[in-house]
């Protein structure tokens, strides 16, 4: 017992693994997942609003929606691939659909022509269309409820206005004083009790359109395959990078360095091999997903190949950086476990990033997993054309280059003393 204790105390990494790691993980999961719960501030849902009706009533409805703290309405956007300085234009349905498909917004609401008129009538409900991403199971139903509520809030105004218009038509205009009173009343926020009135139910008829095809399950399979795959890719790359430390410990590195092979070529050789292994690992994972769980691999083969190659290349270089930064394989396994699990949690390997808070989503972009998963999701989920993968491929390639350069610098300590 004493020997075991002394060994643990002498090995600082093992000590950290024993006590610091669980605490670190608990904290990360609390930050990542805890903020999703009801107690913290709810992240507003980013919603595109397209008003095809353009009536006074539909605008009032939009204003009522705007009042909702849980929503952030987006009514204008720049054209796709427009520069950052380009002016924003009012959204149309096509652009809103793009924004949802690209994952920039959670859901889009289209107020169809005749919406305002429908609100004022009791016989036919107002018609709206919801453009949803089936991968986000919360946004659609939540938005449907919000629409009904907004209708109920906005509708009394509409009804009252229409009533007054009829009144004025037949009974003459209101006096300025009367007008002031009516306007003041109309401007008042209506109590939530309105939404509980019987007529508030089913005020808006909502047609739901899924903008991302493949059924609600297919993207989730892709998410799990990519999330798990990338995390394990990192683990296996770190372990494979450990072969460098094995070479140091066994003395074969010394021998390799006295041969014409230099450190640079040695690292590139190891990087290529581990990249190849990584590509094979991801391929096996996705082929299994396709065979057993019906993942749509074949139609997305080119995108899969590109993202996998970039991901494996970067992961392999990452493994080499970790290995060349560590003094022993024990240290490597400890540090890589911490780093990889943290990156996986924040980067969305365990829980989809688009369901995290915005700040966590931004933080996720600092991780390797974030970019790799965005790449896979673009391919399998958003069915984006290959050219649209360029940001992910570029970042992953740059990461690979940066990691390789860092590994080369760190490996200098094994070179000539």
């Amino acid at each position: 017992m004493r020997i075991g204790w002394l060994n643990l105390v002498r090995d600082r990494v093992a000590l950290a693994m024993t006590f610091v790691l669980p605490v670190a993980f608990f904290s990360i999961f609390q930050v990542v997942f805890g903020s999703q719960g009801g107690r913290g501030e709810v992240r507003p849902l980013r919603v595109a609003l397209v008003d095809q009706d353009g009536s006074e009533a539909s605008q009032a409805f939009a204003a009522a929606l705007q009042q909702e703290k849980a929503l952030r309405l987006v009514t204008t956007a720049r054209a796709r691939r427009a520069s950052a300085k380009a002016p924003s234009a009012t959204l149309d349905r096509a652009r809103a659909q793009e924004l949802v498909r690209d994952g920039e917004l959670s859901v889009a609401v289209v107020l169809l022509t005749g919406f305002g008129e429908g609100l004022a009538r009791f016989d036919a409900p107002a018609r709206a269309e919801l453009l949803v991403d089936p991968s986000n199971p919360i946004a659609g139903p939540l938005m449907q409820g919000m629409l009904q509520k907004a209708a109920a809030t906005a509708q009394p105004d509409g009804l009252a206005r229409r009533g007054l218009e009829q009144f004025e038509k037949y009974a003459g205009a209101l006096t300025p004083g009367q007008r002031q009173v009516v306007d003041a009343w109309l401007a008042q926020p209506k109590s939530d009790s309105a939404s509980q009135s019987p007529i508030a139910e089913g005020l808006v008829s909502v047609a739901v359109t899924e903008v991302v095809g493949g059924g609600p399950n297919a993207p989730l399979i892709a998410f799990f395959a990519a999330g798990t795959g990338v995390m394990f890719l990192l683990f296996s790359c770190a372990a494979a990078g450990g072969s460098l430390l094995e070479e140091v410990e066994s003395g074969t590195l010394e021998r390799l360095l006295t041969s014409p092979l230099g450190m640079g070529r040695l690292l590139v050789g190891k990087w290529l091999l581990v990249t190849l292994l990584g590509v094979m690992q991801m391929t096996v994972m996705f082929v299994w997903g396709a065979l057993v769980f019906g993942l749509e691999l074949v139609p997305h083969l080119a995108g899969f190949a590109l993202v996998t190659l970039a991901t494996a290349g970067a992961a392999s270089a990452f493994g080499l950086v970790l290995a060349s930064a560590c003094r022993s394989r024990g240290q490597l396994s400890g540090i890589s476990t911490i780093v990889i699990l943290m990156m996986s949690a924040v980067g969305g390997s365990m829980f989809p990033r688009f369901l995290m808070s915005e700040s966590m989503q931004r933080l996720g972009l600092l991780t390797f997993n974030g970019w790799a998963l965005d790449g896979y999701l673009k391919v399998f989920w958003r069915k984006a054309p290959l050219v649209e993968l360029w940001p992910q491929l570029l970042v992953l390639s740059l990461l690979a280059a940066a990691f390789l350069a860092a590994a080369r610098l760190l490996a200098r300590r094994w070179e000539t003393a």
Partner: protein
């Protein structure tokens, strides 16, 4: 030219200096290895032997001084195909077979497929491992690994071979086999520089011995030269007596801590031994055994480097 092979300096180290922080590892070491020669580099732990070997192999950048191979200075990191290095560690891939290890290291040294196959077969015969060439190295005994470790350093037929403790931790049979291997290399024209703590090994194998301590060469030459320059040509006579003696008696001095062994340095055993025996008897001592020792490298080594532990 008269047909005589000129003595060519294959390897020369000139005034090599190297410090690691405050620790001075080499303080102006110069050695020269001539064609076909075998030099033994001996010295206590921490004397600077391994640093010197690593400097020759290009793995240590000297603060000052130079390493020359075939009369050309070589810089760290520059290729040195005429050099082979056998590290002290068993630097082999344990899960690979003997053949696979040889092939891997041969290829790293740039051997083309056909030459590689021939050299690997030669190495397996040379090391006596041909029958077990398809077995993973992890199943090998210490001696087998040592032999393979040496073979991996000579596949590219270097003219100079550096061996750092080539026989450490092996049984006498394997050691003999390794000596035979080194002899075969010498017959083929390879020059060798080996470091060792096995002084009998240095004594019997090496043409010249270089004693290094505190980063300096403190003696070098043939064994006879070293003996003549240090303890002299005579013999050491040792008398075992029946009781401990604390003080020297007429030319006999206590040889060890127990005081029951008395030693004397004599030039002519036959004429001087009877007098020593008489002196012991006169002091009331009973002589139980007499031993006469030839001067050894061990004695030279202790004479030069002292008895103090180097840890």
């Amino acid at each position: 030219m008269g047909g005589q092979v000129p003595i060519v300096s294959l390897l020369a180290v000139r005034d090599a200096r190297k410090s690691f922080g405050a620790l001075v590892a080499l303080e102006g070491v110069s050695i020269e290895l001539r064609e076909g020669e075998l030099i033994g580099l001996v010295g206590p732990n921490g004397a600077g032997k391994t640093t010197l070997v690593r400097a020759i192999a290009g793995r240590v950048r000297l603060d000052a001084g130079a390493v020359e191979l075939l009369n050309r200075p070589v810089e760290p990191g520059s290729p040195r195909p005429e050099l082979g290095v056998v590290p002290q560690e068993i630097a082999l891939y344990a899960s690979l077979t003997a053949r696979e290890n040889l092939e891997a290291f041969g290829r790293l040294h740039g051997l083309a497929a056909r030459a590689l196959a021939a050299r690997v077969d030669w190495a397996l015969e040379w090391t006596g491992l041909a029958a077990r060439d398809r077995e993973p190295v992890r199943r090998f005994s210490g001696g087998m690994r040592r032999r393979l470790n040496i073979a991996c350093g000579v596949l590219h037929e270097p003219r100079v071979l550096l061996l750092d403790e080539p026989t450490v931790g092996v049984d006498p049979q394997s050691r003999e086999r390794i000596y035979e291997m080194l002899a075969a290399l010498r017959r083929a024209g390879t020059s060798l520089l080996l470091t060792t703590h096995q002084l009998d090994e240095a004594e019997s194998l090496c043409d010249r011995i270089v004693v290094i301590d505190h980063g300096r060469v403190i003696a070098s030459g043939r064994l006879a030269e070293l003996i003549a320059g240090t303890i002299g040509e005579g013999r050491r006579v040792l008398l075992s007596v029946d009781r401990p003696v604390a003080e020297p008696i007429d030319g006999l001095e206590p040889e060890d801590g127990s005081g029951t062994t008395l030693g004397a340095h004599v030039k002519d055993v036959a004429s001087e031994l009877p007098a020593l025996l008489r002196h012991a008897a006169a002091a009331g001592l009973e002589v139980r055994d007499v031993a006469v020792r030839s001067p050894s490298l061990h004695a030279v080594f202790i004479h030069l480097t002292g008895r103090e532990l180097r840890e």
